[in-house]
């Protein structure tokens, strides 16, 4: 998903909202909070608004991405209704001379050239890297075109798919002789994926990554999805009032839309709408919840159709291009990631897993790789104390495991400060610096 529609209009919104939330915030928890340049103290707002453009790192060179698609896998069964996703697209930009290459893996439901991935690729490109953007294994196109199971979230299997895809892309890049080495970065779910890809690389040594960056990763997938599902409880009246909440957001947008002289209907107008009437914490959380719920609906339905699992679509019901599916969307929006976990994901993978459901949940987490992560000087983590996808204790785990390779900031919510000059200096510094 795209959290980042930064614009001048948004800047004004951020400043307005900052002042209105400032009083509600607690006293600084750590000394660094006083000097950290990220201004938004509300983690939900930070997640939605991102970095104010005046504080964002300005890059000298414009990133001009080129796009290509991997060929379709031979004899792969792809339902007709998903024909448009049969080839996985990726993007890349090469330096003129010899340089290291960095793969950048998108987060939940993220596309290779989505807002956050582009922001990161621009930073890496300006730091002298060849860059390649990789779509998340949780995006429907990756699931349809390249996933071995099309039931994503299984870190080890997703990592194997990613590793294969990266290899195929690397083989197809022009002027491959200019690649002097490989690194890896990923944000959100892509950060968690990157840790497992790094582990796989240690075993298979296809790339021998010089550096690996985990940017605001989910520490435990189960904790994160449970928390995201809970955010929808913030809808006044609960999830059953999703319709009412949505109608409310739309009417609020409408009131701004009818007053303005613009005729474009774009995300800026959403922020303009909330500037006129700053939303409550609960509403901000609910907006984030709704955004992730839409990703969940896409993912779950695609997994269902690809496997004919009978989760939302009746099994053996043929889904064609023309098949009506509004009622499937209505159901999918009411089914969260936790329902997917217990009633689809775990039953689907249980046979190939040695252990019970709790062990399976634990296997989709960074603590599962604790020894590897603490003994890998080439891997760093970047995170925020107030990230909305973490639960208590997870920041401590990161600090204990990564030591001085953990960059933990006091503010930023989920992904809100990745464009900030100060944080970029830290993680680009780790990337380009010598071994720790």
């Amino acid at each position: 998903m795209t959290h980042r529609f930064v614009s001048t209009a948004l800047m004004a919104l951020v400043l307005t909202l900052c002042s209105s939330f400032a009083s509600a915030e607690e006293a600084p928890a750590t000394p660094s909070q006083d000097t950290f340049s990220y201004p938004i103290a509300n983690p939900f707002l930070a997640t939605i608004a991102g970095t104010p453009s005046v504080l964002a790192k300005q890059h000298a060179r414009e990133l001009k991405l080129r796009e290509a698609k991997l060929p379709e896998i031979a004899d792969r069964h792809i339902p007709k209704a998903l024909w448009y996703a049969r080839r996985l697209q990726y993007s890349w930009a090469m330096q003129d001379g010899n340089a290291p290459l960095i793969f950048t893996v998108a987060g939940t439901g993220g596309y290779h050239d989505g807002g956050t991935n582009k922001l990161l690729m621009e930073a890496f490109f300006n730091a002298g890297y060849h860059v390649v953007g990789i779509t998340s294994p949780s995006h429907p196109e990756f699931m349809v075109a390249q996933s071995s199971t099309a039931v994503p979230g299984h870190m080890r299997k997703d990592a194997a798919d990613l590793y294969r895809v990266m290899g195929e892309i690397a083989d197809r890049l022009p002027k491959r002789e200019r690649i002097s080495g490989y690194s890896l970065a990923g944000y959100s779910l892509g950060g968690t994926h990157s840790a497992f890809v790094a582990k796989l690389d240690q075993e298979q040594q296809r790339f021998n990554f010089d550096k690996v960056l985990l940017l605001n990763p989910s520490v435990s997938l189960y904790n994160s999805i449970a928390k995201l599902d809970r955010m929808l409880r913030n809808i006044p009246g609960g999830v059953d009032n999703l319709n009412g909440f949505f109608a409310d957001v739309v009417s609020r947008i409408g009131s701004v839309y009818t007053r303005s002289t613009t005729i474009e209907f774009n995300p800026d107008i959403v922020f303009e709408a909330f500037k006129a009437q700053p939303p409550s914490d609960e509403e901000l959380a609910a907006i984030i919840g709704v955004a992730f719920r839409l990703s969940a609906a896409n993912l779950i339905f695609t997994a269902d159709v690809m496997n004919d699992f009978g989760f939302i679509k009746p099994s053996r019901q043929k889904l064609r291009r023309k098949t009506e599916r509004s009622h499937y969307l209505e159901v999918a929006l009411r089914v969260g990631f936790t329902d997917y976990f217990h009633d689809f994901f775990w039953p689907f993978h249980a046979d190939s897993f040695d252990g019970d459901r709790n062990a399976f949940a634990e296997a989709q987490s960074l603590p599962h790789l604790k020894d590897f992560l603490s003994n890998s000087p080439h891997i760093a983590v970047v995170h925020n104390l107030d990230d909305v996808i973490l639960v208590p204790g997870e920041i401590e785990f990161l600090k204990n495991t990564f030591g001085n390779r953990a960059f933990i900031y006091p503010r930023g919510g989920h992904l809100g400060n990745l464009a900030l000059a100060e944080t970029q200096a830290d993680y680009i510094g780790f990337l380009t610096g010598g071994a720790q």
Partner: protein, 283 residues
């Protein structure tokens, strides 16, 4: 997920609609390989709804109720913003796919050439020119909606751009901060309380509805009567006019088929179109 719903091929196309379809279908037959044409045709023939797909190896299994069944999960008495009247959904879906293929194989390649051949300033002149002609439709509909002040503003805008902007190739009116509106006959009908009616996907033009489709025909007929470019007497002008209109409209529309990555893109576009039109009418 970002959805820009100035969705998509705009009302501009209302000019001489049947002519456009002829033009495009001949262009299609001339330029594309047989396989493309037949695959485009195939989308309209894809009628078999009930047949089960061959999911080997358990070919004997019957359709079963899904784990999360709509009858159980979704309450009947809840008004869902996704519930939009769409009795022709199968046909609409086929047309949506058809439009996507047309976009991919015909329009987008043509735009690639267009952007290579014509420099940026020339393309922006084309955009301004058609935007200026749109103001005729907007002004007429503002009058029909009994909004004389806005109609006057639109008239002033049109005169400014037609004279100072040399036939509308430049847009000095925007520099003078003159407001730009966008009205059509579908909105005028909505203004007087006509319901949207069933959702329709029009070939080439994309999302519409019964009311808006009729509005489009009326706008087209009215503009054909006015005929500001005198296309009736100068049929040669049409050869430049229609291709440029199509190319410019598509090039300035930020919409990519299947760009949302969602298997529910059809539903999302339908919902956003309906909401946008509701808001357009109030505006």
């Amino acid at each position: 997920m970002t959805l820009t719903i100035n969705a998509h091929l705009s009302r501009r196309f209302s000019w001489h609609y049947p002519l456009l379809v002829c033009l495009l279908s001949t262009g299609c037959a001339n330029n594309s390989a047989n396989s493309t044409t037949s695959s485009l045709y195939g989308y309209l023939q894809d009628t078999d709804e009930t047949q089960l797909e061959d999911f080997s190896p358990e070919t004997t299994r019957r359709t079963a109720d899904p784990l999360y069944n709509a009858n159980r999960v979704v309450l009947d008495d809840v008004a869902d913003p996704l519930d939009i009247s769409d009795p022709l959904e199968p046909l609409n879906r086929a047309l949506y796919s058809f439009n996507a293929q047309l976009d991919r194989w015909v329009l987008m390649p043509a735009i690639g050439v267009y952007q290579k051949v014509l420099p940026r300033f020339a393309r922006s002149g084309v955009t301004n020119f058609f935007d200026n002609l749109d103001d005729i439709r907007t002004g007429i509909n503002q009058l029909l909606q009994l909004r004389p002040k806005r109609a006057l503003q639109t008239g002033g805008r049109f005169l400014t751009n037609t004279t100072l902007g040399i036939g509308g190739l430049w847009d000095p009116a925007s520099r003078f901060n003159m407001p730009k509106y966008d009205e059509d006959f579908g909105q005028t009908l909505g203004h007087y309380g006509v319901e949207a009616g069933p959702y329709l996907v029009l070939p080439l033009f994309g999302p519409s509805g019964l009311r808006d489709g009729i509005g489009r025909i009326v706008d087209t007929a009215v503009l054909a009567q006015i005929d500001p470019l005198d296309l009736t007497d100068h049929s040669g002008r049409g050869y430049a006019y229609y291709p440029l209109l199509i190319l410019d409209t598509r090039a300035t529309t930020a919409f990519e088929y299947f760009g949302t990555g969602s298997p529910f893109e059809y539903e999302l576009v339908r919902m956003l179109y309906a909401k946008k039109r509701e808001l357009d009418i109030v505006k």
